[in-house]
């Protein structure tokens, strides 16, 4: 992808964002549009860039601090670009009692990053999730759309190695 096309796609994303805001905006109830708009930003950019949050605040007439508050309240939103492989670890009740915290801990040790962070090479990011709807497989994690159930911490290095190898393919 050349510089030219990336600039064009960048501008298109902002234009698309503005169009979306116009569709959902309700001046009487500006707050109502905030979450749908942030979802859209996340889809367009892959995360919530600060410039986009500032833009949304101005457009919806909502204090930036409130936009930031909503963005950091929900685990779905990410403030940093997610990795090529985004790992969601379910910390819902069933997974938690089955040891999801140990899965989370091992992942962090293996990758050297915390939740909502991305490895410096951009390959992996970790996210905590509330119930992915697969309680019978607890504890569960997802790497992009691949589901791993009944996990043991010892399996983690092997699974990560698989994705590292994929990159080199």
């Amino acid at each position: 992808m050349g510089i030219q096309t990336s600039v064009v796609s960048h501008c298109e994303r902002w234009r698309e964002l503005d169009e979306f805001i116009e569709q959902v905006r309700d001046p009487e109830h500006p707050q109502g549009a905030l979450i749908p708009v942030l979802h859209h930003v996340q889809e367009l950019f892959g995360y919530l860039p600060q410039a986009a949050m500032n833009h949304v605040a101005q457009k919806l007439n909502i204090p930036t601090a409130e936009v930031f508050g909503v963005a950091t309240f929900y685990s779905y939103f990410s403030l940093v670009p997610k990795g090529k492989y985004n790992i969601s670890v379910c910390l819902g009740t069933a997974c938690y009692v089955k040891g999801a915290d140990r899965i989370m801990k091992t992942l962090q040790e293996e990758l050297g990053i915390g939740p909502k962070q991305t490895t410096p090479d951009g390959l992996f990011s970790i996210q905590d999730a509330r119930c992915v709807g697969a309680c019978s497989l607890a504890p569960v994690m997802m790497i992009n759309n691949d589901v791993y159930g009944q996990l043991e911490p010892a399996q983690i290095p092997e699974i990560l190695a698989k994705y590292r190898a994929k990159r080199n393919e």
Binding site: A57, N61, T64, A65, E66, F68, G69
Partner: protein, 583 residues
Amino acid sequence: MSDVTLTIDGRSVTVPAGTTIMQAADKIGIHIPRLCYHPQLSIEGACRVCVVEVEGQRNLVASCAFPVADGMVVRTATPEIRQIRRDIVELILDNHPMDCQTCERDGNCELQRLAYAVGVRERLYEGERKSYKPDTSSPSLIRDPEKCILCHRCVRLCREIQHVGVLGYYGRGFNTVIMPAYDAPFQETLCTTCGQCINVCPTAAFLEKPHTDRVLDALADPEKFVVVQVAPSVRAAIGEGFGMPLGVAQTGRMVAALRLLGFDKVFDTQFGADLTVMEEASELVQRIKSGGPLPLITSCSPAWVKFCEHFFPDFLDNLSTCKSPMSMHSAIVKTYYAQKMGLDPKKIYSVAVMCCTAKKFEAERPELGTPEYPHTDAVITTRELIWMIKSAGINFKELNEEDFDRPLGESSGAGTIFGATGGVMEAALRTGIWMLTGSNPSDVEITPVRGLDGIKTMETEIKGLKLRCAVAHGLGNAYRLMQAVRSGEMKLDFIEIMGCPGGCVGGGGQPYAGYDAVPLDPEILRLRAEALYNEDRGKPRRFAHENPDVQQLYKEFLGHPLSEKSHELLHTFYYRRVPPGIG
């Protein structure tokens, strides 16, 4: 709306439908313990301290949020509720530092009082405790998330009353922190430094940036000539810090206390206020005669000025170029006064006692000093002065009254009323009328601009010249007024805006609300304003232009209002700030 009758703790009470249980209980003298609730802010229901039992409800309900119903039976203090309430407060304390004795708010802390009132006598829970570094980047405020109990009063105040909205919540649950967007240092945010967050905070999560150490150092330095000036509103509230009655100015004792503390000269910011009137009334007359830009908007309140620079940069030309009374006074101290007394301005240490936290920010605006030294070296709040007096072992109540030093301590009643909302407008009109007609107005007191209505308007005619005036106090009211001006809905010539509710008497540096008082209580603001209006009535001179020492200053040094020298020393400029305000 129809009335409903309910029973609270066996007593019958009739209130309008839609009333909350807490309000109904207040009406019959039952004070349900509370923490996050504030009568002027939206209902949060965050702390759960105000839980009560309602017959027929499965769980206890938060009385601040629960509306009354006909025939409802409420119990507020059964043994079970008292135990639960104590548990709730203990759990809040569990995540709070145990440093009351070394805390700035020791003795003035709502959480401390509440823990005592509900009967917490030991700490049963020892759990994980949050740990954060304070943000000290602002020239005016310190934000210490470790002391924060997440009542959200500051967030609601900053949005709902001040329309600034600099504060929000970060994260969720145990990890929630109140902070500006992106955890930006306060100095880089929209924060106007008004300090109202300090007033409503039940703990010490917000404090003023202390200047007491540097003032004490200067007082101990024999090389320094330390002068102090005191804002009008300080005298109206300082007595509260010593258990004296509300609404009585303690001017004479305050002057005596400052002398005892070791200040070489005790001056009055009201001299600066009289000077501001001379310059600003002249500016108004000049702008009216030369066609603008109008409306002229006052610039005494540094929180309002910063708000304008973020939210209304299209009105910067409308702001009066006059410096505030404090900054005018400081400029005169280090020029005129230094020359007159043969002092080296570099050896003068100029302290201002202000009801205001934003004045600390104002003192650091580089354009208000010289490249070598600031004109105002330190700003302490009313609270800091009260502490200094107590800490020096001065028995304030027993002091004999003393007078300010001259010449910069002489003032008229016009300078006094600057501290109450509408006061600058009133003082400027008193002198403006004299400037335009050559004689003083028959009615000294201009009552339509007094009082606590959010936005006050008045039309007057002076020698066939129609003058449309408006006064707003609190930045939320300022926002609404300025939006009406921006849209063309309101056509005005002269606007007074003060950043704090009630004007300076309600400043962010004023004494904390007492044991039975609610922060920002309009009755307290009214009484403090009354203290100033009484001072004004008792003054031999009530017009700024009659202040003999101000007249002398013009004769000896400045020439006349708006002279070249005045422009150099008493006027300033403003700039657009980032981030831009929302709305």
